[in-house]
Point group: C2
Chain length 225, copies 2
Amino acid sequence: MPEHNERERLASARPFAGLDEVAVDDAAGAGHRRHLSPGETVFRQGEPADELFVLLEGRVKVTQVTSDGQQVVVRLLGPGEMMGCVAAWGGGNYPGTATAQEETSVIGWSGAALGRLVERHPAIARNLLGTVGHSLQETQTRLRELATERVERRLAHALLRLVDKEGRSLRLTRQELAELAGTTLFTASRTLSAWEAQGLVEAGRGRVTVRRPDGLAALAEDASP
Amino acid sequence: MPEHNERERLASARPFAGLDEVAVDDAAGAGHRRHLSPGETVFRQGEPADELFVLLEGRVKVTQVTSDGQQVVVRLLGPGEMMGCVAAWGGGNYPGTATAQEETSVIGWSGAALGRLVERHPAIARNLLGTVGHSLQETQTRLRELATERVERRLAHALLRLVDKEGRSLRLTRQELAELAGTTLFTASRTLSAWEAQGLVEAGRGRVTVRRPDGLAALAEDASP
DNA sequence: CGTGTTATTGATAGATCTCAAAGATGGTGG
DNA sequence: CCACCATCTTTGAGATCTATCAATAACACG
């Protein structure tokens, strides 16, 4: 409903950063909105990737499942972030599933609409490239962590990344945290318990509050406690 | 030396796929060549990312090291592939180190030159986006594998990916294979020994030949032997 | 106050890493 | 042509982390 608010959101979203009002309005006009309740999906893994989305309001989780049912959290998104970028270059199918975590609204553009938009405002192309590239770097970093680091450190890194994006009060289950760090619910729970005993975090049902980010950072970087 | 050959290489490289001759020549003219012997680096982790490169000839390995010295192979590149794409959007520093594995020649463009090139030939922007996006997808897949799969499967996947790109005869050490799959030299060696006993592969010093890709695929996908 | 989800904790087994030692391999220079 | 060297590889034994399984507890919600 609040058009004004929506434009602000778009203007602060990565793909449209630094664009003038005209361009943002043009983009806003070309896209179409969609509202989702918790549990509904923006797109599903394997579907043809025909649209690119920007999250206006709410939180979205992007997951990938293996053939045998195991799940990984690929990304957690907050307002202003982009998803489904495969659509931008006609890349076939969505590689993951995007699920709303709370009341969420998104705005989406079809590949064709996006093409026209980029033609009118070439800066968008550069922004898109930067956004995707940024994701690539973050993913490569996670890859390196997963390949070389122990579970406790990976958990610390995962939490710290979330704190950077969303603040110290995080709303996620142990299961989700585990999938982010590539471990199991049980190990995540044990680790959080230990950290809570050390006063590093405060944990509740579906909730983790980081008390001492510096303490976690020490765990994540260094070896010694 | 062979300008003709070079243009063919560029034209078949992902960032320039589908472009007309004029554009390819323009790109070739704007970039500058560099030759590297085994062990020399195209760029190093942490250096300011000022150039984007396309590999014309040879093989290049991109690695990332952790603060405590552990190493991961982020990518292995063959002719026509792109590296250092961070430079395309002024993204700060190279996240990894690119090392020549054999006699190698590359062509590079500064961020500014690339900007001008994209202005003259907008299709390049779309190609770049597609290339980076493709890397992102592949990286996310590896991430999922690393998070959910056992070492043997990860090794199988790593080999299969290489076979797809370079054929059945691969030139890599156990160490490199291990870093690709996120495991140790020792486990990689043991696994290859087992596979060799089953006739799946043939291994030598710095060399792996895949005899039965289907057999590896069965290991990688399914659970049963 | 049930009821279903989420979290905790313990015991156990198994995969994988670590460390150590020895065996191949291929290139190089005398 | 051969001996030598650095590098790569194999294999074993033990330690350790982490997943797995099972049982219980805490929580939120209608």
